[in-house]
C-alpha cells in the first residue's frame, strides 16, 4: 500500500492499461489512507467513498473488456470543494453553503468523469477561495504536511495537502491570485495555473471572473500535464473559454532546456520586496541547475511587483465583492472574520479605479508579452516567505501581500510552481516557471528538465497516522 500512496498518475495509468493494477485496489488503498490520516491533516471536507468504488468498478470492468479511455482511466483524484459535483453541496468551505446542492457537475468534473477518472472526495479550502485558515468555519483547516503547526498555503489548501501526503495523486484547484501555486509551494508539490481560458470555470464558484483560473496540483510535472490535458478545452458555458484546441501538453516534456533562453525576474524578490533567505537560496540554486543543463539564463526587468499586485488586487476585490454583495449585506456574520476582511474593501473601490486597473492590466500584459519575445520562459519566486504558524492570522495576511504569483493572474499567462529544495528544518521552497500565453508545453518542458535533474519531488513528508489506524495507513 505504501507504493500505491505515492504512485504517480502516469505510472498508475500505464499499470492499469496493462491490467497490472486494479482501479478498485488503487482506489480502496487511497480511501483507506484517507481514513487513517484525515483526522490529522483535514484535507478532505467530504469523502465520496461509494461513488469512488462505483466509478473504480466501472473503470475496471471497461478496461477488462478492452475499453481503455486514456491515462486517467481508473485513476483516482480529488477536487477543491468549489467545483460542482451533482447531488453534493459545493460548500466553498463556508457556513453560507452548507445547504447547497449542485444540480450538475462542473465541466472539469465532467471531463474527468468522461476520461474514466475516480473521484475520491472534496477538499478543504480557504472560505470562498479567499479567506484563510480559521477555527470559525464548519470544517477544520487543512494542515501543512511538513509541519502540522504551519500554514499549508491556500486557497486550495486541501488540494496541496492531499497530494503531498499521498491521499490523492492529483487534485483540482483554482487560482485567482496564486491559490494553486501557493499550496503547491507550501506543500512541496507541482501546481499549474494554465493560461486564462484554457480550462472551463463553468460549475466553479467564482471569486473574481477576470482573474479566475482552474489548474491541477500533482506530485510530478508529467502527472500535471496529463491532468491538464484531461480538463482543458473550449467550453461554450464559460464566456472566457479559449476557442482553440489544447496542444499536447506532454509533447515537449523530455526535450530538455539546452539552448533555451530563460529570463529571471529577480527584482520582484531582490528589490521590490526582499524575500526570505531560504527562498532566495532555492531559486539561486535553481538558476545554477538550469545553466548547468544548458539553458541561457539572464535577468529581465518588468514593472514593479507592487504595480502588478495593486492592479490585480483592485480587480480581485472589486469583482469578488460583486459576487458576495448580497450575502455581505444580509448575513455578514456567517462569514469568517478573515473572509469578511478580504471581501468588504470591494464595496469601497471607485468605479474609476476598477476601470483604470483593467487599463493598467492591458499595459502590463503588453509589457510582459514584449519581454517574452526573446525568451522561451521566465522564472521567479512563488512565495517570498516561508510558511508561518497556522494560527498567526496577522502574519498569514502579510504573506498574501508578499508573493510573486498575482502578476501572472494579471497577464493570464501559464505559471507552474515547482519545489526548489528544502530548508534545514525540512520545509519546501519553490519557484515559478512562466511562459507565453498558451505555451504550457514549454513551461512543462522547463519544469520537467529542472525537476528531473534535482529530484526534489521525490521527497515525501513523514505522514502521521491516527491512533489505532497504523495497520490501515501507508508508510511515508
Amino acid at each position: 500500500m505504501s507504493d500505491l500512496a505515492y504512485l504517480t498518475i502516469a505510472d498508475a495509468g500505464r499499470l492499469i492499461r496493462a491490467r497490472k493494477l486494479s482501479p478498485v485496489e488503487f482506489t480502496t488503498a487511497l480511501l483507506t489512507r484517507i481514513a487513517a490520516t484525515d483526522s490529522t491533516y483535514h484535507a478532505y471536507i467530504a469523502v465520496t467513498q461509494d461513488l469512488a468504488i462505483t466509478q473504480a468498478k466501472a473503470a475496471e470492468a471497461e478496461i477488462m473488456r478492452g475499453g481503455w479511455r486514456g491515462p486517467m482511466h481508473g485513476v483516482p483524484y480529488a477536487t477543491k470543494d468549489i467545483f460542482d459535483v451533482a447531488g453534493m453541496a459545493t460548500t466553498c468551505h463556508s457556513k453560507l453553503r452548507i445547504d447547497h446542492c449542485a444540480a450538475a457537475d462542473a465541466t472539469a468534473i465532467v471531463k474527468l468523469r468522461e476520461a474514466g477518472a475516480v473521484l475520491l472526495g472534496k477538499l478543504a479550502l480557504h472560505e470562498f477561495a479567499t479567506g484563510g485558515p480559521t477555527l470559525e468555519l464548519p470544517w477544520p483547516a487543512a494542515r501543512n504536511p511538513w509541519n502540522l503547526d504551519l500554514h499549508p498555503g491556500g486557497s486550495s489548501s486541501g488540494s496541496g495537502v492531499a497530494v503531498a501526503i499521498g491521499t490523492a495523486p492529483g487534485a483540482l484547484g483554482t487560482d485567482t491570485g496564486g491559490s494553486v501555486r501557493n499550496p503547491a509551494t507550501c506543500c512541496g508539490v507541482v501546481g499549474m495555473k494554465p493560461t486564462y481560458g484554457t480550462v472551463s470555470r463553468a460549475g466553479v464558484f467564482p471569486l473574481a471572473f477576470s482573474l479566475d483560473h482552474v489548474g491541477p496540483l500533482t506530485r510530478t510535472v508529467e502527472d500535471n500535464a496529463i491532468m491538464l490535458q484531461t480538463i482543458a478545452g473550449h467550453d461554450p458555458a464559460d464566456p472566457a473559454s479559449a476557442r482553440r484546441p489544447p496542444p499536447d501538453f506532454t509533447a515537449e516534456l523530455n526535450a530538455g532546456v539546452k539552448g533555451l533562453r530563460i529570463g529571471v525576474i529577480a527584482h520582484f524578490y531582490e528589490v521590490d520586496m526582499i524575500a526570505a533567505p531560504e527562498q532566495r537560496a532555492g531559486i539561486a540554486a535553481a538558476i545554477d541547475v538550469l545553466r548547468h543543463l544548458g539553458a541561457e539564463v539572464k535577468p529581465i526587468r518588468l514593472s514593479s511587483l507592487q504595480r502588478y499586485t495593486a492592479c490585480g488586487r483592485t480587480i480581485h476585490i472589486a469583482e469578488a465583492f460583486a459576487v458576495h454583495e448580497r450575502d455581505l449585506q444580509e448575513r455578514p456574520q456567517d462569514y469568517a472574520e478573515i473572509t469578511r476582511r478580504k471581501l468588504l474593501p470591494g464595496a469601497f473601490i471607485l468605479a474609476a479605479d476598477y476601470v483604470k486597473a483593467q487599463q493598467l492590466r492591458t499595459v502590463l500584459c503588453a509589457e510582459f508579452a514584449s519581454a517574452m519575445r526573446d525568451l522561451d520562459a521566465v522564472i521567479t519566486l512563488s512565495s517570498l516567505d516561508m510558511p508561518c504558524r497556522i494560527d498567526d492570522d496577522e502574519t498569514i495576511a502579510k504573506t498574501y501581500e508578499r508573493q510573486c504569483r498575482m502578476p501572472f493572474n494579471v497577464t493570464g499567462t501559464p505559471a507552474v510552481a515547482v519545489p526548489t529544495g528544502f530548508t534545514a528544518t525540512g520545509l519546501p521552497t519553490a519557484m515559478q516557471i512562466v511562459g507565453r500565453a498558451f505555451a504550457e508545453p514549454m513551461v512543462y518542458r522547463v519544469a520537467q528538465a529542472y525537476c528531473e535533474a534535482t529530484g526534489w519531488g521525490e521527497r515525501h513528508p513523514s505522514v502521521k497516522v491516527a491512533e489505532g489506524a497504523e495497520s490501515l495507513a501507508a508508510s511515508s
Binding site: S303, T314, I317, L328, P332, L344, Q358, A366, T411, M442
Partner: protein
C-alpha cells in the same frame, strides 16, 4: 490614481458610505472592519505609471491570445 480626500475619514462618513452600499448591518456588527475596508478599498490601486493614459483600451474583454498566444 483617482484623487482621494486628503483628510482621514470620519466615522460619520464611513457610516454614510456603508449605508450607501447596503452594509448597515455589517457596520453595526463590525465597525472596525468597515473602517479598514474603506481605507483598503479607496486606496487599492496605488500610484499609476507616470506615462499611464486613461485612454488605453480597458481589458473588459480580456483575451490572452492578444498577448503572445501564438505558441
Amino acid at each position: 490614481m483617482t484623487e482621494k480626500p486628503d483628510t482621514e475619514p470620519t466615522m460619520e462618513w464611513v457610516l454614510a458610505l456603508a449605508q450607501a452600499r447596503g452594509l448597515d448591518r455589517a457596520y453595526a456588527l463590525y465597525p472596525e472592519a468597515i473602517v479598514a475596508a474603506v481605507a483598503r478599498g479607496t486606496g487599492s490601486l496605488g500610484l499609476l505609471p507616470t506615462d499611464f493614459s486613461a485612454t488605453t483600451e480597458p481589458a473588459i474583454t480580456f483575451d490572452a491570445a492578444k498577448f503572445g498566444g501564438d505558441s
